[in-house]
């Protein structure tokens, strides 16, 4: 076993490029483990965890690129890796050679696009604040995808934005659709009369997708970033976006999506909702229903429910909680019957492997207190995965959370993380695997295909011990998305995956299966 390291001083590449490259290089013969990255504290920690640390990395800075690799005795040396690395990079560069000129700074970019009005920022967190500052100084709206921006910076930047009447959507904001233009991770949806302000990425995606599938459309979808409704930030962007939608003649109805806000922030939002002449639908996922209804707003029980209520209200129909299924009850029962029949009595556990954090959170909340579910984003601290005894019990994971994305892209971009969890966390006791498949801009080219591969692999593995497993999925996507909703559903179904039309229904079906299992079939 040989560990080798190359450091290139002051060579910056973005993290996604490098992470995808690491994966390519790992395929080379003789390479046991490899990491290509910038010398950030996080990456150095990762290098140590992977057992790739060597002396060369001691004086590295976050502006230096490193390649660390572990080889078996026989094969490749680091020079070959470096050559492959350069070749891969050149491939990217070659593509770029045909592109338009790419200026190095915002200032210069504004000379090429003087009437720009939106800046999308996804640089590393420690530099992001400066970039946003400069954008605001130029009176530009900002979508801030980067995470690792401090609360202090977020507050300062949002205050500055509010004073200038500008948007700062983020940090850690995954999705927005402004004037019909999808930004970062957004689905291709029809334009229409419903405006959304969302503090949670995949939650917002699910609502917009559901509205589209019901024949509705979106006027504006404004993201705020996950911390906006915390006490420290005070909901500055939720309020700014809410107010803008109230004033927007193209918007007839407003949907607000967030995890339960801080009480003081909720108060501010309720105050505006009470004044709003336009109907307001609020999904504070698992939040205080009575308080919402007290101000005349419409409360929801799921993301799908929010979309349904918005559409019903807009169309002058009766607004009621949606607790069931799109399919007739009899068909659902058939599906459950068929699924349960395949399982052995000691198959009792749930493996919910989500790429979307809000979808994972919604799943656990919908399953309520009925099950003890371990998670990396647990509903109560004692259910943290660290406390999970020897992989026994129900498990629901947000695979996009930091601990799983160190040194690799988000699982919505690269399904590899989930593929590995299918291998490591699905066993003979697993009864149901529950997954989300998120389509849209920014996402992997074929996330359904990756799930299909994993399911096939898992079925083969369990088949050897004479077992089957129930797989339930929902696809967050539309017919307009490049990955295509229908094609994705068909691919999943052809592998025997039960595909439900929403995350809420997929969770509910899962619930039915477990209820039946508990009754002892």
């Amino acid at each position: 076993m040989i560990i080798q390291t190359i450091v290139k001083k002051n060579a910056y590449y973005d993290s996604v490029t490098l992470m995808l490259l690491s994966r390519e290089l790992k395929k080379l013969e003789g390479v046991e483990e490899i990491l290509v990255g910038m010398g950030t504290d996080l990456n150095i920690e990762l290098v140590q965890n992977l057992g790739l640390f060597s002396g060369e990395l001691e004086s590295i800075t976050s502006n230096d690129l490193f390649i660390s690799a572990k080889f078996d005795e026989t094969r490749t040396n680091l020079e070959a890796i470096e050559a492959a690395f350069v070749e891969q990079l050149n491939k990217t560069d070659q593509k770029e050679a045909d592109d338009d000129y790419q200026p190095p700074t915002l200032k210069s970019a504004l000379q090429y696009l003087p009437d720009a009005n939106m800046v999308v920022v996804s640089v590393p967190g420690q530099s992001a604040a400066d970039v946003v500052d400069e954008a605001l100084d130029n009176d530009l709206h900002v979508m801030l995808f980067s995470d690792n921006v401090s609360v202090e910076d977020e507050l300062r930047l949002k205050q500055k934005a509010v004073n200038k009447g500008l948007l700062v959507m983020g940090p850690d904001c995954g999705t927005a659709i402004i004037n019909g233009a999808p930004l970062c991770f957004a689905n291709a949806v029809r334009r229409g009369r419903i405006g959304v302000v969302g503090a949670s990425g995949t939650g917002t995606q699910e609502v917009t997708v559901q509205i589209h599938q019901m024949g509705g459309g979106l006027s504006q979808v404004i993201g705020t970033g996950g911390r906006d409704l915390k006490e420290e930030i005070g909901g500055l962007m939720m309020i700014q976006g809410f107010q803008a939608l109230i004033d927007d003649p193209e918007t007839d109805l407003i949907v607000l999506i967030s995890k339960p806000p801080a009480a003081s922030v909720a108060e501010k939002i309720y105050r505006i909702a009470r004044q709003s002449a336009k109907p307001v639908v609020i999904d504070f996922i698992g939040g205080d229903r009575a308080a919402i209804e007290a101000v005349g707003a419409i409360a929801c029980i799921s993301l799908e429910d929010a979309a349904r209520k918005a559409m019903a209200k807009l169309n002058g129909q009766k607004v009621a909680d949606f607790v069931g299924f799109s399919l007739p009850e009899a068909e659902i029962e058939q599906i459950v019957d068929k699924a349960v029949a395949t399982l052995k009595p000691d198959q009792t556990e749930l493996r919910a492997l989500f790429t979307g954090g809000t979808l994972a959170d919604e799943a656990m909340k919908l399953l309520g207190g009925r099950y003890a579910i371990y998670s990396n984003i647990p509903l109560s601290p004692e259910m943290a995965i660290e406390n999970m005894p020897d992989q026994k019990g129900h498990l629901c994971l947000d695979l996009g959370e930091d601990r799983f994305t160190r040194g690799r892209p988000h699982p919505m971009i690269d399904p590899q993380t989930r593929t590995e969890f299918f291998r490591s966390h699905v066993d003979e006791q697993t009864a149901v695997i529950l997954v989300d498949v998120v389509l849209g801009f920014g996402s992997h080219a074929d996330p359904a295909g990756a799930v299909v591969d994993s399911v096939r692999e898992v079925r083969k593995r369990l088949g050897k011990v004479g077992r089957e497993v129930v797989v339930v999925a929902s696809v967050c996507g539309t017919d307009l998305d490049s990955q295509n909703l229908e094609r994705s559903v068909r691919a999943l179904e052809s592998e025997g995956v039960i595909v439900m039309p929403s995350n809420a229904q997929a969770v509910r079906l899962t619930d039915r299966v477990f209820q039946r299992l508990e009754k002892g079939n």
Binding site: N10, A97, Y101, P103, P104, T105, S108
Partner: protein
């Protein structure tokens, strides 16, 4: 207070934009270059001792010693050079510039350029052509013979021809050349043709024999780089008046001696900021590789300092092939130079960029901030004396030059209590 910097830079840009380099005649180095003496050898780049001189620079010095009669063999020349009998100073310290090794000795004929707006002069030797030549460190007999012929025939013919013709506005001629596919550093084909066309009748009118005139014509015509030795002093004459404009962050000299790369900044006067010169990424002549190359050498990047040369690559796509590039790369090189410069040239307009002016006025702050380095087109000299040119390509100055200059600049402001 930032105004202080911007104001100074504006003044520098005004000086550069208003410059009018004009060819006014020829002379002998020892007679016209200020401070020139028999035992003073000028060389390219920042100051360097014989001990630290690279192969081609040493070769050029040896050729100069033989040419001036200080020695009759290369071995003898090397001894004289090491003896301390000869003083070495940069061309730039004597209002001169020299391509590659840039060695100027007192008997060499030089072009005389005057910046008629500000009255300052610049000097440069006559180009010897390609192949085994002094500026690439060759010192064989053919080198010396050619230098002697240049002194005896080429020089007097051209001197008389220019006297007959009268001053030639080089700013206009470069502007035309730039529109004809020259960046007047590594491609001078169009400009050389323009020069010959301009002075043809005057050469014919000189008092010399037809045989001499024909040889002069053939010599000028056979060497595409004849014009380089005019574009360089033209750039030098344009930039020199900017040196010493206090508080300016604009670079007014870039030069290399084959060992070090040096820059000078207008607001920091005569101070050189140097770092080891780089090896050139380029196209090597058959039989040669990067291992044969000497590090970057020559004063010719004075053209880039003015915004032509590599900075105007967009207009000279023909030579982007030296680095295996495409015309699109040429555009990209130029476009990226706008990121580190201050204005667009009012005289040198680039047709492929919709007649955008050449990127002018390198600002050390922008170079350090963006880490985008100036792009320089250059020839490549063999690392050993006496071999000559082995290729051509593209090179950057070391970032350290600009970072040191920024350090010194901030220190200056600190010393004056202008920054904390």
């Amino acid at each position: 207070m930032e105004n202080l910097i911007e104001k100074a830079n504006q003044q520098v840009l005004e000086i550069i934009q208003n410059a009018r380099p004009t060819l006014i005649g020829l002379g002998i180095a020892g007679e016209v270059i200020p401070g020139m003496e028999k035992n003073l050898f000028l060389h390219a780049g920042p100051p360097v001792t014989w001990e630290r001189m690279s192969g081609p620079m040493r070769g050029a010095v040896m050729a100069g010693l033989i040419y001036e009669g200080f020695a009759s063999t290369p071995e003898e020349a090397a001894k004289v050079a090491a003896s301390g009998k000869i003083r070495f100073e940069p061309c730039h310290h004597h209002q001169s510039v020299g391509p590659m090794a840039g060695v100027v000795t007192s008997s060499m004929p030089v072009w005389i350029i005057e910046n008629t707006t500000y009255g300052n002069k610049a000097f440069c030797t006559l180009n010897e052509g390609l192949g085994k030549v002094l500026r690439f460190g060759a010192y064989g007999e053919e080198v010396i013979t050619r230098l002697k012929w240049m002194e005896a025939v080429l020089y007097p013919v051209l001197k008389e021809a220019i006297a007959i013709h009268g001053p030639i506005d080089l700013k206009n001629m470069i502007a035309q050349g730039v529109q004809m596919g020259d960046e007047v550093h590594n491609r001078n084909k169009a400009s050389t043709s323009l020069l010959i066309r301009e002075i043809a009748s005057s050469i014919v009118k000189t008092s010399f024999s037809d045989e001499d005139k024909v040889k002069v014509f053939d010599f000028l015509n056979s060497n595409d780089h004849t014009y380089l030795n005019l574009s360089m002093p033209a750039a030098k004459a344009s930039l020199d008046p900017a040196g010493g404009v206090k508080y300016s962050t604009i670079v007014y000299t870039m030069a290399r001696n084959g060992t070090d790369f040096g820059i000078r900044v207008a607001g920091l006067g005569d101070r050189w900021f140097t770092a080891p010169a780089e090896i050139i990424n380029g196209l090597y002549f058959p039989g040669f590789t990067m291992d044969d190359a000497n590090p970057d050498i020559g004063d010719s990047c004075i053209t880039e300092t003015l915004g032509i040369g590599g900075f105007s690559m967009a207009t000279a796509p023909a030579i982007v092939q030296f680095v295996g590039g495409t015309p699109k790369d040429a555009m990209r090189y130029t476009t990226s130079m706008y990121e580190i410069t201050t204005e667009e040239s009012k005289a040198y307009k680039l047709p492929p960029l919709n007649f955008r002016g050449a990127p002018t006025g390198i600002d050390i702050r922008k170079v350090v901030e963006t880490q985008i380095l100036p792009v320089i087109n250059t020839g490549i000299a063999h690392k050993d004396p006496g071999v000559g040119q082995v290729g051509a390509g593209i090179v950057n100055p070391p970032m350290a030059c600009f970072e040191q200059a920024l350090e010194a600049y901030v220190k200056l402001l600190e010393d004056e209590g202008l920054v904390e």
